[in-house]
Symmetry: C2
Subunit: 392 residues, 2 copies
C-alpha cells in the first residue's frame, strides 16, 4: 500500500477492527463475558468500515465521490473480500491477500492446511519433514519416565520444566504451532512478522533436521536447534517459553472468541499426508472447549450461509492472491471464479507476501503479482469514472 | 404466488418476520424494552430467511439444489430486494412489489408520498381533493368552541367525543391516515386488505366530496360520509373508532419500533402540492418521540449505508414493480436501473396489486405486469440450470 499509494493518488486508511488494539467498545470490560463480546462479529466489523468510509467521505476534503478499494491480508483479506460482496456500492474492488474464505465447513479438506506446512518442510531440506514426523514418537518415548521428562526439559532449554503428560501434550502443540508459524512466515528475506527471523527460515531450520535416523535424544537435540532458529534468532533468549509462539500481539484473545462463534475452521492431520500426529476434526470437543472458555458455542455453518461459501460468482472485482508456501492458501481462492473474481498465485510466496513492502530479495513471482494487482485496481478506477461520466 | 406456483413447479414458503405474528423471540416479553427489541432489525430478518432456506433445502425432499426466488410486497418487497442484494448465492432473483427502498434520507423528496395520495383523490372525482384540502380549516373553525367540538363529535359519529385541542389533532391525524390508506388499497374490485371496501373505493368516497363550496358543517357531514365508506362498508358499525385505521393486525407495534431505529422514512406536506396541512419533516421531534416511546433514537442514514441507497447497479435479477396509484411508488424504483434490475409500473395499480390473486376485474396493466414477472422468473431459473450444466 505504501509503495503504490502515490502512483494511484490514494489516501491510505488503516481501520482497526473492533475488539482489537485500542478499539475496545467496553474498555477493560470488553472481554469480560459473552454479553460484552456479543458485538464482536465480522458483520459488525464490516458495518464499522461502511460507517467509517461514509464519515471520511463526508469530512475529508476531496474524499467525496472518490473510488474506494479495500485491501487486507489473512482475516483482513477475508474482510476485504466480504466487504466488496456485502457493500459493493462502497467499493470499486477489493484485494484479498492470503484470505482463506473457504477454510470453513467442508469447502476444502480439513487436512490441506497441514499438508502445505509439511510440503514446505519437505522441499526446504533433505529429510526435514521426515525428521519432524519421527520426533513425535521420540517425544512420547522420552517422556514416558520422570528422568526422561527432566532430560527433555533441559535439552529444549524450556523455561518451565515438563512435569506431567499434560505438559507433554502442551509441548507437542507448541512445537506444532511453531512449524505452522514458520510456514506462514517463510519469507525470502530477514523479517519480523511473528518473530525476528532469517531469510527463508525453514531452510535454516532444516539444516538441523537432515538425519531422521538418529537416536531419540539426538533427534530432540536437533529439534531444539530448529526451534531455536524461530525463538532465538537474536541469540539473546535464555530459555524457550512455551506460553508464546508469536512476539507481537495480534489479538489472539479476540480471535479465539471469533473462532468459537463464527470463524470455525476445521483442521485435521493424518500423519501420512502430513508430518504431524493424526488428529481428526472434532466439532463436539471444539464446541465444549468454547463453552468452557467463553460460555458460547460455535455456529459452524454461519459463515458459508452469510458469505456464500463457494457460490460467489455473482460478485465482481475481487482479487484473491495466495502464496503457494502459505498453508492458508489451502482454504483460499486459487483459481479464477469469473473474469472479475480473479486468483493470483505466487509460487515463492508465504503469508500475504504481496502486501509487504518492496524488498531487493522479492522473487519475481511477487513482483508480477503486485504489478497485476495494480493493473486491476487501475481498471476498476477507470471503470468507476467511466460509469460516472455515463450518468452525467 | 398461488396462481403461478403450479406452472413454475414451485414450493411456496411464507416466512414470518421475527417479532411479528407468532414469531416472538422472547414470548410476551418481546416488546418489553429496547434490550428485548434489540434483535428486531432487517438484517436479522434476512439472516433468518437465509437459515430457513438452508434448513428447507436440507430437510425437504427434492428441495436441495433447487433455485429460489424471493417475493414480497411493501416492507416484504424491500426485504426481498435486499435479500437478493445481500445473499445473491441463495436466490436466483427477487420480485419486490411496491417496495419503497428509496423512501430514506433525501433519496426522494419527502413530499412525494402525500402528493400521490392527493393525485389519487384529484382524479377520482371532481373537486374531491379540494374538498379534503378545505376540510382542515373547517375542522379548526368548528372545533374552536365547546359546542362545535360536541357538534363535530356527533357529526362524525365518533365513539369517544372530542374534548380538547389534542383530540382535534388526533382527529386530523386519523382522517389523514384514512385518506392514505384509501390510496394504498384503491383496488379495482371489492377487497379486504386494511378494511372491507368496495371496488375503486376512492371513487366511492369522492361521490360525497363533489362540492367544496359549502358551509363548514355541510363539508364535515360530507367528510363523515366519505370516512364511513372506509370504516363502515358493512353498514354494521355503530360509531367510528379513532384508535384504529386498519382492522387486521399488521404488526403496527413492531413497525413503530423499526421506524424508530432503522426504517426512518421522511414524510412531509406543504398544502400546495398536496391536500393536507403543511408539515415539514422534523427528525429532532421524531427522534424525541422515539426516545419517549422506545428508549431508542433513530439511525436515519443506516439503511442507505447498508443497502446502497441509489447505488445498486452492481446487483442483478431484481424486479421492482409499482402501481402508479400507490403512494409508496414515490419511494420505489420505477425506472430500470440496469438490464437485470428492472422496473415494472402498473398505471391502474395500488399497493402491490400484482401480488394479489387473479380477479376478473384486474386491469390489463396488472395482467401484463404479472406475465412479465413470470417471464423474468423463468429466465432466472433457465439461467440457473444453464450455469449448473456448465459446471458439470
Amino acid at each position: 500500500m505504501w509503495d503504490m499509494a502515490e502512483e494511484l493518488k490514494a489516501m491510505l486508511v488503516f481501520a482497526e477492527h473492533r475488539y482489537y488494539g485500542e478499539s475496545l467498545p467496553f474498555g477493560a470490560n470488553s472481554f469480560k463475558d459473552s454479553t460484552h463480546l456479543n458485538f464482536l462479529t465480522s458483520e459488525q466489523a464490516l458495518a464499522d468500515f461502511a460507517k467509517l468510509i461514509k464519515h471520511l467521505k463526508r469530512t475529508v476534503p476531496g474524499a467525496k465521490n472518490q473510488p474506494v478499494i479495500a485491501l487486507g491480508g489473512s482475516y483482513g483479506g477475508m474482510l476485504a473480500a466480504w466487504f466488496r460482496m456485502k457493500y459493493p456500492h462502497m467499493l470499486v474492488g477489493a484485494l484479498a491477500s492470503s484470505a482463506p474464505i473457504w477454510q470453513f465447513e467442508d469447502l476444502v479438506p480439513c487436512g490441506v492446511f497441514m499438508e502445505i506446512v509439511t510440503a514446505d518442510f519437505r522441499k526446504s531440506g533433505p529429510n526435514c519433514s521426515e525428521s519432524i514426523r519421527r520426533s513425535w514418537d521420540a517425544i512420547r518415548r522420552l517422556t514416558s519416565t520422570g528422568p526422561g521428562l527432566h532430560w527433555l526439559s533441559e535439552a529444549l532449554r524450556l523455561c518451565s520444566p515438563l512435569t506431567n503428560s499434560q505438559d507433554v501434550e502442551h509441548l507437542k502443540d507448541w512445537i506444532t504451532e511453531t512449524w505452522v508459524n514458520l510456514a506462514m512466515v517463510d519469507y525470502p528475506y530477514e523479517s519480523n512478522f511473528l518473530q525476528p527471523l532469517p531469510a527463508w527460515p525453514i531452510k535454516v531450520v532444516c539444516q538441523y533436521l537432515k538425519n531422521p535416523n538418529v537416536s531419540d535424544p539426538q533427534l530432540l537435540e536437533n529439534i531444539f536447534q530448529a526451534l531455536n532458529v524461530y525463538y532465538n534468532y537474536s541469540g539473546q533468549v535464555k530459555c524457550l517459553n512455551m506460553s508464546e509462539t508469536a512476539t507481537r500481539s495480534l489479538g489472539s484473545l479476540g480471535w479465539s472468541y471469533q473462532a468459537c462463534t463464527e470463524m470455525v475452521m476445521p483442521f485435521c492431520t493424518n500423519g501420512i499426508d502430513d508430518m504431524f500426529e493424526p488428529h481428526s476434526w472434532n466439532l463436539k470437543e471444539f464446541s465444549d472447549d468454547c463453552f468452557k472458555q467463553w460460555g458460547v458455542r460455535p455456529r459452524p455453518s454461519w459463515i458459508t450461509t452469510m458469505y456464500g461459501g463457494k457460490n460467489i460468482s455473482s460478485h465482481t472485482n475481487i482479487i484473491f492472491s495466495n502464496g503457494d508456501l502459505d498453508p492458508w492458501s489451502g482454504g483460499g481462492v486459487t483459481e479464477n471464479v469469473t473474469d472479475t473474481l480473479v486468483a493470483i498465485t505466487i509460487p515463492e510466496g508465504a503469508h500475504h507476501l504481496d502486501l509487504r513492502a518492496n524488498n531487493a530479495f522479492d522473487p519475481t513471482s511477487v513482483l508480477l503479482a503486485r504489478s497485476l494487482e495494480v493493473r486491476y485496481m487501475k481498471q476498476w478506477i477507470k471503470n468507476f469514472y467511466a460509469s460516472l461520466r455515463k450518468k452525467h
